[in-house]
Protein backbone atom coordinates (compact mmCIF):
# COMPACT_ATOMS: atom_id res chain seq x y z
CA UNK A 1 0.00 0.00 0.00
CA UNK A 2 2.79 2.38 0.86
CA UNK A 3 4.56 1.59 -2.34
CA UNK A 4 1.39 2.32 -4.17
CA UNK A 5 0.89 5.59 -2.34
CA UNK A 6 4.50 6.57 -3.01
CA UNK A 7 4.19 5.83 -6.66
CA UNK A 8 1.06 7.87 -6.84
CA UNK A 9 2.74 10.66 -4.94
CA UNK A 10 5.53 10.66 -7.53
CA UNK A 11 3.10 10.90 -10.39
CA UNK A 12 1.30 13.61 -8.46
CA UNK A 13 4.46 15.66 -8.21
CA UNK A 14 5.00 15.50 -11.93
CA UNK A 15 1.42 16.55 -12.49
CA UNK A 16 1.88 19.36 -10.03
CA UNK A 17 4.95 20.61 -11.76
CA UNK A 18 3.21 20.54 -15.12
CA UNK A 19 0.27 22.30 -13.55
CA UNK A 20 2.47 24.97 -12.03
CA UNK A 21 4.04 25.77 -15.37
CA UNK A 22 0.64 25.91 -17.00
CA UNK A 23 -0.73 28.11 -14.24
CA UNK A 24 2.18 30.47 -14.37
CA UNK A 25 2.13 30.84 -18.10
CA UNK A 26 -1.61 31.19 -18.07
CA UNK A 27 -1.69 33.83 -15.41
CA UNK A 28 0.86 36.01 -16.98
CA UNK A 29 -0.93 36.26 -20.27
CA UNK A 30 -3.85 37.79 -18.45
CA UNK A 31 -3.82 41.42 -19.45
CA UNK A 32 -4.21 44.07 -16.83
CA UNK A 33 -2.21 45.23 -13.93
CA UNK A 34 -2.44 44.80 -10.17
CA UNK A 35 -0.84 48.16 -9.55
CA UNK A 36 -3.82 50.40 -10.14
CA UNK A 37 -6.01 48.02 -8.21
CA UNK A 38 -3.71 48.69 -5.30
CA UNK A 39 -3.34 52.38 -5.79
CA UNK A 40 -6.76 53.29 -7.02
CA UNK A 41 -7.88 54.97 -10.18
CA UNK A 42 -6.26 58.32 -9.60
CA UNK A 43 -2.72 57.18 -8.97
CA UNK A 44 -0.14 58.75 -11.21
CA UNK A 45 1.85 56.86 -13.79
CA UNK A 46 5.22 57.32 -12.12
CA UNK A 47 3.81 56.32 -8.77
CA UNK A 48 2.62 53.13 -10.48
CA UNK A 49 5.94 52.50 -12.21
CA UNK A 50 7.83 52.88 -8.99
CA UNK A 51 5.61 50.42 -7.17
CA UNK A 52 5.83 47.97 -10.03
CA UNK A 53 9.58 47.94 -9.75
CA UNK A 54 9.47 47.63 -5.99
CA UNK A 55 7.23 44.58 -6.25
CA UNK A 56 9.47 42.98 -8.87
CA UNK A 57 6.63 42.79 -11.37
CA UNK A 58 8.70 44.13 -14.23
CA UNK A 59 11.20 41.29 -14.23
CA UNK A 60 11.18 38.71 -17.04
CA UNK A 61 8.47 36.04 -16.67
CA UNK A 62 10.91 33.14 -16.69
CA UNK A 63 12.88 34.70 -13.88
CA UNK A 64 9.70 35.33 -11.94
CA UNK A 65 8.71 31.72 -12.43
CA UNK A 66 12.03 30.38 -11.26
CA UNK A 67 11.96 32.55 -8.18
CA UNK A 68 8.42 31.58 -7.44
CA UNK A 69 9.00 27.87 -8.07
CA UNK A 70 12.13 27.92 -5.97
CA UNK A 71 10.30 29.39 -3.04
CA UNK A 72 7.25 27.21 -3.61
CA UNK A 73 9.49 24.15 -3.31
CA UNK A 74 10.40 25.21 0.17
CA UNK A 75 6.74 25.70 0.96
CA UNK A 76 6.71 29.47 0.56
CA UNK A 77 4.01 30.53 -1.85
CA UNK A 78 5.08 34.15 -1.79
CA UNK A 79 3.25 37.28 -0.72
CA UNK A 80 -0.07 38.51 -1.93
CA UNK A 81 0.31 41.72 -3.90
CA UNK A 82 -3.04 42.91 -2.77
CA UNK A 83 -3.13 41.86 0.86
CA UNK A 84 0.57 42.34 1.46
CA UNK A 85 0.37 39.12 3.43
CA UNK A 86 1.81 35.63 2.93
CA UNK A 87 -0.19 33.75 0.32
CA UNK A 88 -0.15 30.59 2.41
CA UNK A 89 -1.89 32.35 5.29
CA UNK A 90 -4.44 33.95 2.99
CA UNK A 91 -5.25 30.60 1.42
CA UNK A 92 -5.28 28.73 4.69
CA UNK A 93 -8.00 30.98 5.99
CA UNK A 94 -10.08 30.63 2.85
CA UNK A 95 -9.46 26.91 2.81
CA UNK A 96 -11.25 26.46 6.13
CA UNK A 97 -14.45 27.82 4.63
CA UNK A 98 -14.11 26.01 1.36
CA UNK A 99 -13.20 22.67 2.85
CA UNK A 100 -16.05 22.84 5.32
CA UNK A 101 -18.38 23.90 2.57
CA UNK A 102 -17.20 21.09 0.33
CA UNK A 103 -17.48 18.58 3.13
CA UNK A 104 -20.97 19.65 4.11
CA UNK A 105 -21.94 19.60 0.47
CA UNK A 106 -20.55 16.12 0.00
CA UNK A 107 -22.48 14.99 3.05
CA UNK A 108 -25.67 16.33 1.50
CA UNK A 109 -24.78 14.85 -1.82
CA UNK A 110 -24.28 11.43 -0.30
CA UNK A 111 -27.25 11.66 2.05
CA UNK A 112 -29.56 12.78 -0.70
CA UNK A 113 -28.08 11.15 -3.76
CA UNK A 114 -27.38 7.61 -2.65
CA UNK A 115 -30.56 6.70 -0.73
CA UNK A 116 -32.91 8.34 -3.17
CA UNK A 117 -31.01 6.87 -6.10
CA UNK A 118 -31.35 3.47 -4.45
CA UNK A 119 -35.06 3.90 -3.95
CA UNK A 120 -35.51 5.01 -7.54
CA UNK A 121 -33.61 1.99 -8.79
CA UNK A 122 -35.58 -0.37 -6.58
CA UNK A 123 -38.82 1.09 -7.84
CA UNK A 124 -37.47 1.04 -11.37
CA UNK A 125 -40.07 1.91 -13.97
CA UNK A 126 -42.73 3.07 -11.53
CA UNK A 127 -44.09 6.59 -11.31
CA UNK A 128 -42.03 7.08 -8.16
CA UNK A 129 -38.86 6.34 -10.10
CA UNK A 130 -39.87 8.61 -12.96
CA UNK A 131 -40.83 11.34 -10.54
CA UNK A 132 -37.58 11.15 -8.60
CA UNK A 133 -35.49 11.01 -11.74
CA UNK A 134 -37.38 13.94 -13.17
CA UNK A 135 -36.85 16.02 -10.07
CA UNK A 136 -33.20 15.10 -10.07
CA UNK A 137 -32.83 16.17 -13.65
CA UNK A 138 -34.55 19.41 -12.85
CA UNK A 139 -32.19 20.03 -9.95
CA UNK A 140 -29.26 19.45 -12.26
CA UNK A 141 -30.64 21.98 -14.71
CA UNK A 142 -30.97 24.95 -12.38
CA UNK A 143 -28.25 27.60 -12.33
CA UNK A 144 -26.69 27.57 -8.86
CA UNK A 145 -26.79 31.30 -8.31
CA UNK A 146 -30.48 31.42 -9.08
CA UNK A 147 -31.15 28.83 -6.41
CA UNK A 148 -28.85 30.67 -4.03
CA UNK A 149 -30.52 34.04 -4.53
CA UNK A 150 -33.95 32.61 -3.86
CA UNK A 151 -32.79 30.62 -0.85
CA UNK A 152 -31.36 33.79 0.69
CA UNK A 153 -34.51 35.68 -0.11
CA UNK A 154 -36.75 33.06 1.45
CA UNK A 155 -34.83 31.69 4.39
CA UNK A 156 -32.77 34.68 5.40
CA UNK A 157 -34.38 37.91 4.32
CA UNK A 158 -38.03 36.87 4.65
CA UNK A 159 -38.20 34.12 7.24
CA UNK A 160 -35.03 35.08 9.06
CA UNK A 161 -34.31 31.45 9.97
CA UNK A 162 -30.78 31.36 8.73
CA UNK A 163 -28.01 33.86 8.22
CA UNK A 164 -27.98 35.35 4.75
CA UNK A 165 -24.31 35.38 4.05
CA UNK A 166 -20.81 35.31 5.35
CA UNK A 167 -19.22 32.72 7.55
CA UNK A 168 -17.38 33.44 10.79
CA UNK A 169 -14.89 30.71 11.55
CA UNK A 170 -16.01 27.83 13.75
CA UNK A 171 -12.76 28.25 15.62
CA UNK A 172 -13.99 31.58 16.82
CA UNK A 173 -17.71 31.12 17.12
CA UNK A 174 -18.06 27.41 17.76
CA UNK A 175 -19.75 24.75 15.69
CA UNK A 176 -22.94 26.77 15.67
CA UNK A 177 -21.39 28.83 12.91
CA UNK A 178 -21.94 25.91 10.61
CA UNK A 179 -25.45 27.26 10.17
CA UNK A 180 -23.89 29.91 7.97
CA UNK A 181 -22.94 27.14 5.57
CA UNK A 182 -26.32 25.47 5.52
CA UNK A 183 -27.86 27.41 2.66
CA UNK A 184 -24.68 27.55 0.59
CA UNK A 185 -24.03 23.85 0.98
CA UNK A 186 -27.58 23.02 0.01
CA UNK A 187 -27.31 25.28 -3.00
CA UNK A 188 -24.11 23.63 -4.02
CA UNK A 189 -25.39 20.15 -3.25
CA UNK A 190 -28.50 20.38 -5.39
CA UNK A 191 -27.02 19.77 -8.82
CA UNK A 192 -24.35 17.40 -7.56
CA UNK A 193 -26.75 15.34 -5.50
CA UNK A 194 -28.87 15.10 -8.60
CA UNK A 195 -25.96 13.70 -10.55
CA UNK A 196 -25.02 11.24 -7.84
CA UNK A 197 -28.64 10.23 -7.54
CA UNK A 198 -28.81 9.47 -11.22
CA UNK A 199 -25.50 7.73 -11.16
CA UNK A 200 -26.49 5.60 -8.20
CA UNK A 201 -29.72 4.68 -9.89
CA UNK A 202 -28.05 3.84 -13.17
CA UNK A 203 -25.31 1.75 -11.67
CA UNK A 204 -27.74 -0.02 -9.35
CA UNK A 205 -29.74 -0.98 -12.39
CA UNK A 206 -26.62 -2.09 -14.18
CA UNK A 207 -25.47 -4.18 -11.27
CA UNK A 208 -28.96 -5.61 -10.83
CA UNK A 209 -28.52 -7.17 -14.25
CA UNK A 210 -25.31 -8.91 -13.25
CA UNK A 211 -25.21 -12.67 -13.10
CA UNK A 212 -24.09 -12.71 -9.49
CA UNK A 213 -27.21 -10.87 -8.43
CA UNK A 214 -29.20 -13.65 -10.00
CA UNK A 215 -27.04 -16.10 -8.06
CA UNK A 216 -27.86 -14.25 -4.88
CA UNK A 217 -31.54 -14.29 -5.61
CA UNK A 218 -31.37 -17.98 -6.37
CA UNK A 219 -30.07 -18.58 -2.85
CA UNK A 220 -33.41 -17.46 -1.53
CA UNK A 221 -32.32 -14.36 0.36
CA UNK A 222 -34.79 -11.52 0.66
CA UNK A 223 -34.92 -8.76 -1.93
CA UNK A 224 -33.68 -6.07 0.42
CA UNK A 225 -30.78 -8.31 1.40
CA UNK A 226 -29.98 -8.73 -2.27
CA UNK A 227 -29.92 -4.96 -2.55
CA UNK A 228 -27.85 -4.21 0.51
CA UNK A 229 -25.41 -7.09 0.32
CA UNK A 230 -24.93 -7.54 -3.36
CA UNK A 231 -26.14 -4.64 -5.44
CA UNK A 232 -25.38 -1.56 -3.39
CA UNK A 233 -21.75 -2.25 -2.67
CA UNK A 234 -20.94 -2.99 -6.27
CA UNK A 235 -22.97 -0.05 -7.45
CA UNK A 236 -21.14 2.23 -5.06
CA UNK A 237 -17.87 1.35 -6.75
CA UNK A 238 -18.96 3.43 -9.71
CA UNK A 239 -20.37 6.12 -7.49
CA UNK A 240 -17.22 6.39 -5.42
CA UNK A 241 -15.08 6.77 -8.48
CA UNK A 242 -17.28 9.67 -9.52
CA UNK A 243 -16.47 11.55 -6.33
CA UNK A 244 -13.25 12.90 -7.79
CA UNK A 245 -15.29 14.25 -10.62
CA UNK A 246 -17.88 15.72 -8.34
CA UNK A 247 -15.21 17.44 -6.37
CA UNK A 248 -13.91 19.23 -9.43
CA UNK A 249 -17.43 20.25 -10.34
CA UNK A 250 -17.91 21.43 -6.78
CA UNK A 251 -14.89 23.68 -6.97
CA UNK A 252 -16.29 25.29 -10.08
CA UNK A 253 -19.69 25.90 -8.66
CA UNK A 254 -18.24 27.01 -5.34
CA UNK A 255 -16.86 30.06 -7.13
CA UNK A 256 -20.39 31.20 -7.82
CA UNK A 257 -21.88 30.04 -4.54
CA UNK A 258 -19.23 31.75 -2.45
CA UNK A 259 -19.82 34.94 -4.36
CA UNK A 260 -23.56 34.82 -3.83
CA UNK A 261 -23.28 34.03 -0.14
CA UNK A 262 -20.27 36.27 0.47
CA UNK A 263 -18.36 33.35 1.91
CA UNK A 264 -14.69 33.93 2.64
CA UNK A 265 -13.67 30.80 0.72
CA UNK A 266 -10.98 30.20 -1.84
CA UNK A 267 -13.52 30.07 -4.65
CA UNK A 268 -14.46 33.69 -4.22
CA UNK A 269 -10.89 34.55 -3.35
CA UNK A 270 -9.64 33.20 -6.65
CA UNK A 271 -12.22 35.10 -8.68
CA UNK A 272 -11.44 38.29 -6.84
CA UNK A 273 -7.75 37.65 -7.21
CA UNK A 274 -8.13 37.13 -10.92
CA UNK A 275 -10.05 40.38 -11.15
CA UNK A 276 -7.39 42.24 -9.21
CA UNK A 277 -4.52 40.37 -10.81
CA UNK A 278 -3.09 39.19 -7.53
CA UNK A 279 -0.82 36.72 -9.30
CA UNK A 280 0.74 34.99 -6.29
CA UNK A 281 -2.66 34.27 -4.78
CA UNK A 282 -4.08 32.92 -8.04
CA UNK A 283 -1.09 30.68 -8.47
CA UNK A 284 -1.26 29.51 -4.91
CA UNK A 285 -4.94 28.75 -4.97
CA UNK A 286 -4.92 26.91 -8.24
CA UNK A 287 -1.98 24.92 -7.00
CA UNK A 288 -3.87 24.10 -3.84
CA UNK A 289 -6.95 23.13 -5.80
CA UNK A 290 -4.90 20.90 -8.05
CA UNK A 291 -3.31 19.29 -5.02
CA UNK A 292 -6.71 18.81 -3.42
CA UNK A 293 -8.03 17.31 -6.61
CA UNK A 294 -5.14 14.92 -6.79
CA UNK A 295 -5.46 14.04 -3.12
CA UNK A 296 -9.16 13.41 -3.49
CA UNK A 297 -8.51 11.22 -6.46
CA UNK A 298 -5.88 9.38 -4.52
CA UNK A 299 -8.36 8.85 -1.70
CA UNK A 300 -10.95 7.73 -4.18
CA UNK A 301 -8.48 5.26 -5.60
CA UNK A 302 -7.58 4.00 -2.16
CA UNK A 303 -11.25 3.68 -1.29
CA UNK A 304 -11.79 1.90 -4.54
CA UNK A 305 -8.99 -0.48 -3.82
CA UNK A 306 -10.43 -1.03 -0.40
CA UNK A 307 -13.91 -1.74 -1.71
CA UNK A 308 -12.89 -3.85 -4.65
CA UNK A 309 -10.65 -6.81 -3.86
CA UNK A 310 -9.86 -7.30 -7.53
CA UNK A 311 -7.72 -4.23 -7.34
CA UNK A 312 -5.09 -5.24 -4.86
CA UNK A 313 -3.02 -2.86 -2.80
CA UNK A 314 0.56 -3.52 -3.73
Amino acid sequence: MWAFALKRAGATLVTLWAASVIIFAFIHVIPGDPIYVLLGDTATADQADRLRTELGLDEPIVLQYLQWAGRALSGDLGRSIFFQAPVAAVIADGAETSILLATMTMVWVVLIGVPIGTVAAMRHGTWLDQGLSGVAMLMASVPTFWVGLYLILIFAATLGWLPSSGYPSIFEGGLGNLRYLLLPSLTLAAPNAALILRLTRASMLDVAREDYVRTARAKGIRPWQVVTRHILRNALLTVVSAFGFTFAALMSEAVVTETVFALPGIGRLVVQSILRRDYPVIQGIILVIVVLYLVINLLVDLAYRFLDPRVELQ
Partner: protein, 286 residues
Protein backbone atom coordinates in the same frame (compact mmCIF):
# COMPACT_ATOMS: atom_id res chain seq x y z
CA UNK B 1 -31.11 8.17 -42.82
CA UNK B 2 -33.43 5.45 -43.86
CA UNK B 3 -36.99 5.39 -42.65
CA UNK B 4 -36.15 2.40 -40.47
CA UNK B 5 -33.39 4.21 -38.68
CA UNK B 6 -35.57 7.26 -38.17
CA UNK B 7 -38.15 5.17 -36.39
CA UNK B 8 -35.32 3.58 -34.45
CA UNK B 9 -34.24 6.98 -33.21
CA UNK B 10 -37.74 8.07 -32.47
CA UNK B 11 -38.76 5.05 -30.44
CA UNK B 12 -37.15 6.18 -27.20
CA UNK B 13 -39.08 9.41 -27.48
CA UNK B 14 -42.35 7.81 -28.34
CA UNK B 15 -41.98 5.51 -25.40
CA UNK B 16 -41.55 8.47 -23.06
CA UNK B 17 -43.98 11.31 -23.30
CA UNK B 18 -41.81 13.49 -21.11
CA UNK B 19 -38.86 13.13 -23.46
CA UNK B 20 -41.16 14.07 -26.28
CA UNK B 21 -42.02 17.24 -24.40
CA UNK B 22 -38.31 17.93 -24.06
CA UNK B 23 -37.91 17.52 -27.77
CA UNK B 24 -40.83 19.84 -28.31
CA UNK B 25 -39.31 22.52 -26.11
CA UNK B 26 -36.07 22.32 -28.02
CA UNK B 27 -37.83 22.59 -31.33
CA UNK B 28 -39.71 25.60 -30.03
CA UNK B 29 -36.41 27.12 -29.02
CA UNK B 30 -34.95 26.56 -32.47
CA UNK B 31 -38.08 28.09 -33.93
CA UNK B 32 -37.84 31.10 -31.64
CA UNK B 33 -34.20 31.57 -32.55
CA UNK B 34 -34.86 31.29 -36.26
CA UNK B 35 -37.83 33.64 -36.34
CA UNK B 36 -36.90 35.95 -33.49
CA UNK B 37 -37.30 39.15 -35.53
CA UNK B 38 -40.87 38.18 -36.41
CA UNK B 39 -41.82 36.72 -33.07
CA UNK B 40 -40.43 39.41 -30.81
CA UNK B 41 -42.97 42.18 -30.27
CA UNK B 42 -40.27 44.85 -29.76
CA UNK B 43 -36.71 45.60 -30.68
CA UNK B 44 -34.76 43.81 -27.94
CA UNK B 45 -32.20 46.62 -27.86
CA UNK B 46 -34.64 49.53 -27.83
CA UNK B 47 -34.17 51.57 -24.69
CA UNK B 48 -37.14 53.27 -23.10
CA UNK B 49 -35.96 54.77 -19.81
CA UNK B 50 -39.37 56.16 -19.05
CA UNK B 51 -40.88 52.69 -19.03
CA UNK B 52 -38.32 50.89 -16.95
CA UNK B 53 -39.04 48.00 -14.64
CA UNK B 54 -42.64 47.66 -15.66
CA UNK B 55 -44.32 44.53 -14.35
CA UNK B 56 -45.81 42.12 -16.90
CA UNK B 57 -48.96 43.46 -18.50
CA UNK B 58 -50.76 43.33 -21.80
CA UNK B 59 -48.19 45.42 -23.66
CA UNK B 60 -45.13 43.79 -22.14
CA UNK B 61 -46.01 40.23 -21.33
CA UNK B 62 -42.77 39.61 -19.47
CA UNK B 63 -42.40 43.18 -18.24
CA UNK B 64 -39.47 45.47 -18.93
CA UNK B 65 -35.97 45.70 -17.50
CA UNK B 66 -33.98 48.56 -16.06
CA UNK B 67 -33.34 49.98 -19.52
CA UNK B 68 -37.02 49.75 -20.29
CA UNK B 69 -36.32 47.02 -22.81
CA UNK B 70 -38.99 44.44 -23.46
CA UNK B 71 -38.12 41.29 -21.52
CA UNK B 72 -40.14 39.02 -23.77
CA UNK B 73 -38.34 40.21 -26.87
CA UNK B 74 -35.01 39.83 -25.19
CA UNK B 75 -35.98 36.37 -23.99
CA UNK B 76 -36.89 35.38 -27.54
CA UNK B 77 -33.69 36.73 -28.98
CA UNK B 78 -31.80 34.98 -26.20
CA UNK B 79 -32.75 31.64 -27.71
CA UNK B 80 -30.26 32.54 -30.42
CA UNK B 81 -27.52 33.01 -27.90
CA UNK B 82 -28.46 29.79 -26.15
CA UNK B 83 -28.28 27.85 -29.39
CA UNK B 84 -25.11 29.59 -30.43
CA UNK B 85 -23.37 28.97 -27.12
CA UNK B 86 -24.61 25.40 -26.93
CA UNK B 87 -23.74 24.53 -30.49
CA UNK B 88 -20.46 26.40 -30.26
CA UNK B 89 -19.40 24.66 -27.09
CA UNK B 90 -20.39 21.27 -28.46
CA UNK B 91 -18.54 21.98 -31.65
CA UNK B 92 -15.47 23.17 -29.79
CA UNK B 93 -15.52 20.24 -27.41
CA UNK B 94 -15.94 17.75 -30.23
CA UNK B 95 -13.56 19.43 -32.62
CA UNK B 96 -10.80 19.21 -30.05
CA UNK B 97 -11.94 16.10 -28.22
CA UNK B 98 -12.36 13.82 -31.21
CA UNK B 99 -8.89 14.18 -32.72
CA UNK B 100 -7.14 14.12 -29.38
CA UNK B 101 -9.19 11.26 -27.99
CA UNK B 102 -9.12 9.12 -31.10
CA UNK B 103 -5.45 9.61 -31.82
CA UNK B 104 -4.51 9.01 -28.20
CA UNK B 105 -6.35 5.72 -28.25
CA UNK B 106 -4.83 4.65 -31.54
CA UNK B 107 -1.26 5.63 -30.71
CA UNK B 108 -0.60 4.59 -27.13
CA UNK B 109 2.68 6.45 -26.76
CA UNK B 110 1.25 9.72 -27.95
CA UNK B 111 -1.87 8.91 -25.98
CA UNK B 112 0.09 8.50 -22.80
CA UNK B 113 1.44 12.01 -23.06
CA UNK B 114 -1.78 13.61 -24.28
CA UNK B 115 -3.94 11.96 -21.68
CA UNK B 116 -1.64 13.07 -18.90
CA UNK B 117 -2.03 16.62 -20.10
CA UNK B 118 -5.77 16.12 -20.17
CA UNK B 119 -5.54 14.80 -16.61
CA UNK B 120 -3.71 17.90 -15.49
CA UNK B 121 -6.28 20.10 -17.17
CA UNK B 122 -9.07 18.16 -15.54
CA UNK B 123 -7.69 19.14 -12.17
CA UNK B 124 -8.45 22.77 -12.95
CA UNK B 125 -12.03 23.55 -12.09
CA UNK B 126 -13.71 24.23 -15.38
CA UNK B 127 -15.26 27.51 -14.34
CA UNK B 128 -11.89 28.85 -13.22
CA UNK B 129 -10.42 27.78 -16.50
CA UNK B 130 -13.22 29.61 -18.23
CA UNK B 131 -12.80 32.66 -16.03
CA UNK B 132 -9.11 32.85 -16.72
CA UNK B 133 -9.62 32.42 -20.43
CA UNK B 134 -12.27 35.10 -20.51
CA UNK B 135 -10.07 37.54 -18.69
CA UNK B 136 -7.27 36.77 -21.13
CA UNK B 137 -9.37 36.84 -24.25
CA UNK B 138 -11.86 39.46 -23.18
CA UNK B 139 -15.59 38.91 -22.89
CA UNK B 140 -17.28 38.10 -26.15
CA UNK B 141 -19.58 35.41 -27.39
CA UNK B 142 -16.84 33.59 -29.22
CA UNK B 143 -14.61 33.71 -26.19
CA UNK B 144 -17.35 32.45 -23.92
CA UNK B 145 -17.68 29.50 -26.24
CA UNK B 146 -13.98 28.82 -26.16
CA UNK B 147 -13.79 29.26 -22.41
CA UNK B 148 -16.69 26.96 -21.62
CA UNK B 149 -15.71 24.57 -24.35
CA UNK B 150 -12.25 24.22 -22.88
CA UNK B 151 -13.79 22.74 -19.75
CA UNK B 152 -15.81 20.21 -21.68
CA UNK B 153 -12.98 19.41 -24.01
CA UNK B 154 -11.26 17.40 -21.31
CA UNK B 155 -14.26 15.31 -20.34
CA UNK B 156 -15.22 14.80 -23.95
CA UNK B 157 -11.70 13.76 -24.80
CA UNK B 158 -11.73 11.24 -21.98
CA UNK B 159 -14.99 9.75 -23.13
CA UNK B 160 -13.88 9.54 -26.73
CA UNK B 161 -10.61 8.06 -25.62
CA UNK B 162 -12.42 5.39 -23.61
CA UNK B 163 -14.83 4.59 -26.41
CA UNK B 164 -12.11 4.43 -29.01
CA UNK B 165 -10.02 2.13 -26.85
CA UNK B 166 -12.98 -0.20 -26.77
CA UNK B 167 -13.69 0.09 -30.45
CA UNK B 168 -10.06 -0.55 -31.19
CA UNK B 169 -10.38 -3.91 -29.46
CA UNK B 170 -13.46 -4.84 -31.47
CA UNK B 171 -13.00 -7.80 -33.72
CA UNK B 172 -14.15 -5.92 -36.78
CA UNK B 173 -11.46 -3.32 -36.25
CA UNK B 174 -8.98 -6.12 -35.84
CA UNK B 175 -10.29 -7.64 -39.04
CA UNK B 176 -9.76 -4.39 -40.89
CA UNK B 177 -6.24 -4.11 -39.51
CA UNK B 178 -5.45 -7.64 -40.61
CA UNK B 179 -6.34 -6.53 -44.12
CA UNK B 180 -3.86 -3.72 -43.92
CA UNK B 181 -6.12 -0.77 -43.31
CA UNK B 182 -4.36 2.46 -42.44
CA UNK B 183 -5.23 4.78 -39.59
CA UNK B 184 -7.39 6.95 -41.81
CA UNK B 185 -9.46 4.01 -42.92
CA UNK B 186 -9.90 2.80 -39.36
CA UNK B 187 -10.89 6.20 -38.12
CA UNK B 188 -13.30 7.11 -40.87
CA UNK B 189 -14.82 3.75 -41.66
CA UNK B 190 -14.91 2.07 -38.30
CA UNK B 191 -14.33 4.37 -35.37
CA UNK B 192 -16.13 7.58 -36.18
CA UNK B 193 -19.32 5.93 -37.45
CA UNK B 194 -19.54 3.98 -34.23
CA UNK B 195 -18.83 7.07 -32.16
CA UNK B 196 -21.74 8.98 -33.61
CA UNK B 197 -24.44 7.77 -31.30
CA UNK B 198 -22.53 8.03 -28.02
CA UNK B 199 -21.29 11.44 -29.08
CA UNK B 200 -24.80 12.54 -29.81
CA UNK B 201 -25.65 11.72 -26.23
CA UNK B 202 -22.57 13.45 -24.90
CA UNK B 203 -23.35 16.42 -27.10
CA UNK B 204 -26.81 16.79 -25.66
CA UNK B 205 -25.43 16.86 -22.13
CA UNK B 206 -22.65 19.25 -23.00
CA UNK B 207 -25.22 21.42 -24.72
CA UNK B 208 -27.28 21.43 -21.54
CA UNK B 209 -24.44 22.16 -19.17
CA UNK B 210 -23.00 24.80 -21.47
CA UNK B 211 -26.18 26.77 -20.83
CA UNK B 212 -25.52 26.68 -17.11
CA UNK B 213 -21.84 27.43 -17.56
CA UNK B 214 -22.61 30.43 -19.73
CA UNK B 215 -25.13 31.64 -17.20
CA UNK B 216 -22.53 31.38 -14.44
CA UNK B 217 -20.02 33.35 -16.48
CA UNK B 218 -22.64 35.97 -17.19
CA UNK B 219 -23.43 36.07 -13.50
CA UNK B 220 -19.82 36.78 -12.67
CA UNK B 221 -19.88 39.52 -15.27
CA UNK B 222 -17.48 37.72 -17.55
CA UNK B 223 -19.76 36.19 -20.11
CA UNK B 224 -21.10 37.58 -23.33
CA UNK B 225 -21.11 41.39 -23.37
CA UNK B 226 -24.12 42.39 -21.32
CA UNK B 227 -26.03 44.18 -24.06
CA UNK B 228 -26.32 40.94 -26.01
CA UNK B 229 -29.59 39.33 -25.05
CA UNK B 230 -28.97 36.05 -23.29
CA UNK B 231 -30.85 34.50 -20.43
CA UNK B 232 -27.74 34.44 -18.31
CA UNK B 233 -27.13 38.13 -18.93
CA UNK B 234 -30.72 38.96 -18.22
CA UNK B 235 -30.49 37.12 -14.93
CA UNK B 236 -27.15 38.59 -14.02
CA UNK B 237 -28.18 42.15 -14.84
CA UNK B 238 -31.37 41.95 -12.93
CA UNK B 239 -30.33 39.96 -9.93
CA UNK B 240 -30.46 42.98 -7.68
CA UNK B 241 -34.12 43.37 -8.57
CA UNK B 242 -35.01 40.04 -7.04
CA UNK B 243 -37.46 41.75 -4.71
CA UNK B 244 -38.15 44.85 -6.75
CA UNK B 245 -38.88 43.23 -10.10
CA UNK B 246 -38.95 39.50 -9.65
CA UNK B 247 -40.24 38.89 -13.17
CA UNK B 248 -36.85 39.88 -14.45
CA UNK B 249 -35.37 36.87 -12.71
CA UNK B 250 -38.25 34.55 -13.10
CA UNK B 251 -38.58 34.41 -16.87
CA UNK B 252 -34.99 34.03 -17.99
CA UNK B 253 -34.25 31.72 -15.07
CA UNK B 254 -37.14 29.48 -15.98
CA UNK B 255 -36.06 29.45 -19.59
CA UNK B 256 -32.56 28.34 -18.67
CA UNK B 257 -33.95 25.60 -16.48
CA UNK B 258 -36.43 24.55 -19.11
CA UNK B 259 -33.78 24.38 -21.81
CA UNK B 260 -31.25 22.50 -19.74
CA UNK B 261 -33.97 20.20 -18.47
CA UNK B 262 -35.25 19.45 -21.95
CA UNK B 263 -31.78 18.78 -23.24
CA UNK B 264 -31.15 16.45 -20.35
CA UNK B 265 -34.38 14.63 -21.03
CA UNK B 266 -33.49 14.24 -24.66
CA UNK B 267 -29.99 13.12 -23.80
CA UNK B 268 -31.40 10.57 -21.42
CA UNK B 269 -33.75 9.17 -24.00
CA UNK B 270 -30.94 8.98 -26.52
CA UNK B 271 -28.73 7.23 -24.02
CA UNK B 272 -31.38 4.61 -23.45
CA UNK B 273 -31.58 4.10 -27.14
CA UNK B 274 -27.89 3.35 -27.21
CA UNK B 275 -26.01 0.16 -27.18
CA UNK B 276 -25.77 -0.81 -23.52
CA UNK B 277 -22.07 -1.38 -23.95
CA UNK B 278 -21.57 2.35 -23.81
CA UNK B 279 -23.58 2.86 -20.70
CA UNK B 280 -20.87 2.83 -18.12
CA UNK B 281 -18.60 5.08 -20.10
CA UNK B 282 -21.05 7.83 -19.35
CA UNK B 283 -21.64 6.90 -15.84
CA UNK B 284 -18.66 8.93 -14.72
CA UNK B 285 -20.27 11.88 -16.36
CA UNK B 286 -23.16 14.16 -15.79
Amino acid sequence: MSRASITLWLTPFLARPIALIGLGVLLAMVFAAAFAPWLAPYDPYAIEPMARLMPPDATHWFGTDQFGRDTLSRAIYSARMALLIGAGVVFFALATGIPVGVLSALFPRLGHVLMRIVDVLMAFPSLLLALGLIVILGPSVANSIIAIGAGYMTTTTRIIYGLTLRLRAETYVEAARSMGSGTGWLVFKHILPNLISPLLVQASFVFAFAQLGAASLDFLGLGAPPDIPSWGNMLAESRTFITRASWLLFFPGSLIVLTAFSLNLVGDALRDRLDPRFRDVFSGEG
